[in-house]
């Protein structure tokens, strides 16, 4: 921890996310609820990491802590070597939620440019950047439409473009494809894999879906509830490319099985669950 943030950034880049012993308790009626406990996790720059687990395992909570939308109650959390709050103010990350969360009174272009407007980017530069982002998510022809004129998948693509607006080194995604049909979902997964490798951004991706986590990730972090914690981390080892054939390959199925077993625990435990 001796070098300053600036000098260290040049030589050995700080990991996108570093969590040590992170915990979170929420105040609730009748005491406190332990949402997350003892989370140790490091996400390297440019790495794609999925958080998977059943409802209530704290995966969304962990993402919100990284995004500084909530504050950790225990442990240390760093984003590019800074506090989450500093990283948020510096706009080191972009974020997308399960709901696209577009402002209905703004056009597609207006929604994509929202973060740029907030940070006072000049008009000409902003228009150029919006056009570029709309192209990246394949919506160049729809920039003048309003959100209610778009399908769910298209709205989500706008949200992704908006998250990428500031060219963040980290992308935080909370079940962004959770409400979409399977076809649209697979299509957007391929698009996201391409965008992530083109921009070189690290991604922390929360999902319920085992195939989605395996297809997209370099590492799949398996979590379990009561209290929310990390129980397993599975490397996929697919490398940079995500060809369509991957979804039907032996290696892919093997990893899907590995993640499923990690999620459900051993067969003995499964029998006990009833």
């Amino acid at each position: 921890m001796t070098p300053t943030d600036e000098t260290r950034g040049a030589t050995a880049p700080a990991p996108a996310v570093r969590a040590r012993g992170v915990g979170k308790t929420f105040a609730a009626t009748g005491g406190e609820v332990l949402a997350l406990t003892g989370v140790d996790l490091e996400v390297a720059a440019g790495e794609f990491v999925s958080l998977i687990g059943p409802s209530g395992c704290g995966k969304s909570t962990l993402l919100r802590l990284v995004a500084d939308l909530d504050q950790a109650s225990a442990g240390e959390l760093e984003v590019f070597g800074k506090t989450p709050q500093k990283a948020r103010v510096d706009q080191d990350y972009g974020i997308a939620f399960q709901q696209a969360g577009l402002l209905p009174w703004r056009t597609v272009a207006g929604n994509i440019s929202l973060p740029l407007e907030l940070h006072r980017m000049g008009r000409a530069e902003r228009d150029e950047r919006v056009a570029q982002l709309a192209g990246l998510v394949g919506l160049s022809e729809f920039v003048d439409r309003y959100p209610d004129q778009l399908s769910g998948g298209m709205q989500q693509r706008v949200a992704i473009a908006r998250a990428l607006a500031e060219n963040p080194r980290l992308l935080l995604m909370d079940e962004p494809f959770g409400a979409l049909d399977e076809m649209t979902r697979e299509y957007l997964q391929s698009e996201l894999a391409r965008i992530a490798s083109e921009t070189g951004a690290a991604v922390v991706f929360v999902t319920h879906s085992i195939p989605e986590a395996v297809y997209l990730s370099d590492r799949v972090v398996v979590m379990s509830p009561r209290p929310g914690r990390i129980t397993d981390v599975i490397e996929t080892g697919f490398g940079e490319e995500r060809p369509e054939g991957l979804r039907e390959s032996e290696a892919y199925f093997a990893k899907v099985t590995a993640v499923r077993e990690a999620l459900h625990g051993s067969p003995v435990e499964r029998a006990n669950e009833r």
Partner: protein
């Protein structure tokens, strides 16, 4: 690229469903005109042909004649009442927006204002007019404008206060994640979310302001305005002229309602997602 095709625009699907129900669009305009014509004809039948109407119900033809003959003075009084309504509406709206903003920002202010607003909402505002007229003098329009302002205040205040609380959690998270300042959040999220509510409040308030300004004229004050004229000519038996003034009052109410409805429609065009 398997980009999903664009869904049909909402207005297109609406049009097809209306056509499917077999109601041609011209019917929407012709139907009310037919109803109006039937009423006028029945009115003429009762008053002019059968001559069974009470003395204070003149024929629509007589009312029309007075309307044309006295257009000048009717217009002058209409302007007076319309101005009072407009001043009251604007003043009430501005005060309501400011107070609703404060109440939305600080809970204690909300708690302090709630009983006051409830009290104003239940008091028949027009009943205060004699007091206000005495307070501000019989030659001042202020009493009438104040009554219209108080009447307009309530719906605008309640709607704006509700509107300022309509931001969705996902939007608040998004702006926080984007590092937006409090003022930026207010400008790009809170204000646009509240705008449709403000305009709904304004539409309701516009009718109330006109009614209050007009009725306030029955309780003294300067000897001009639509309400004063209706009262005067009704008492002196000039029924047709009194009714012609009623037409002027209807015109004011209609203009206020149409303008505010149009504003509301423009603002709510993009609200649901």
């Amino acid at each position: 690229m398997s980009a999903p095709s664009l869904p049909a625009l909402p207005d297109v699907s609406l049009r097809t469903s209306r056509a499917a129900r077999g109601l041609p669009s011209w019917l929407r305009f012709v139907a009310p005109v037919v109803v109006g014509a039937v009423i006028v004809l029945a009115w003429i039948l009762v008053v002019d042909v059968l001559k069974i109407a009470p003395r204070m119900l003149p024929s629509p033809i007589a009312i029309g004649a007075e309307l044309v003959l006295r257009a000048g003075i009717i217009w002058d009084d209409t302007v007076i009442t319309a101005t009072n309504s407009l001043v009251g509406l604007l003043a009430g709206t501005i005060v309501a927006i400011v107070l609703a903003g404060l109440a939305a920002a600080w809970r204690p202010v909300d708690g302090m204002l709630a009983p006051l607003v409830a009290a104003i909402a239940v008091v028949p505002i027009v009943a205060l007019t004699p007091i206000l007229n005495t307070m501000f003098g019989a030659s001042s329009q202020f009493g009438r404008q104040a009554v219209a302002a108080i009447a307009a205040f309530i719906p605008v205040f309640l709607n704006v206060l509700r509107g300022l609380r309509q931001t969705r959690p996902v939007h608040r998270d998004l702006l926080r994640a984007s590092g937006a300042t409090g003022f930026q959040t207010f400008r790009v999220l809170t204000l646009p979310s509240a705008l449709p509510y403000l305009l709904t409040g304004l539409r309701i308030a516009s009718s109330l302001a006109v009614i209050s300004a007009l009725v306030a004229e029955y309780f003294g004050g300067p000897s001009d305005g639509i309400g004063t004229a209706i009262a005067t000519y009704a008492k002196s038996g000039r029924a047709a002229l009194a009714w012609a003034y009623v037409a002027g009052g209807i015109a004011i109410g209609l203009v206020f309602f149409l303008v505010t409805s149009l504003l509301e429609r423009l603002a709510t065009r993009r609200t649901p997602v």
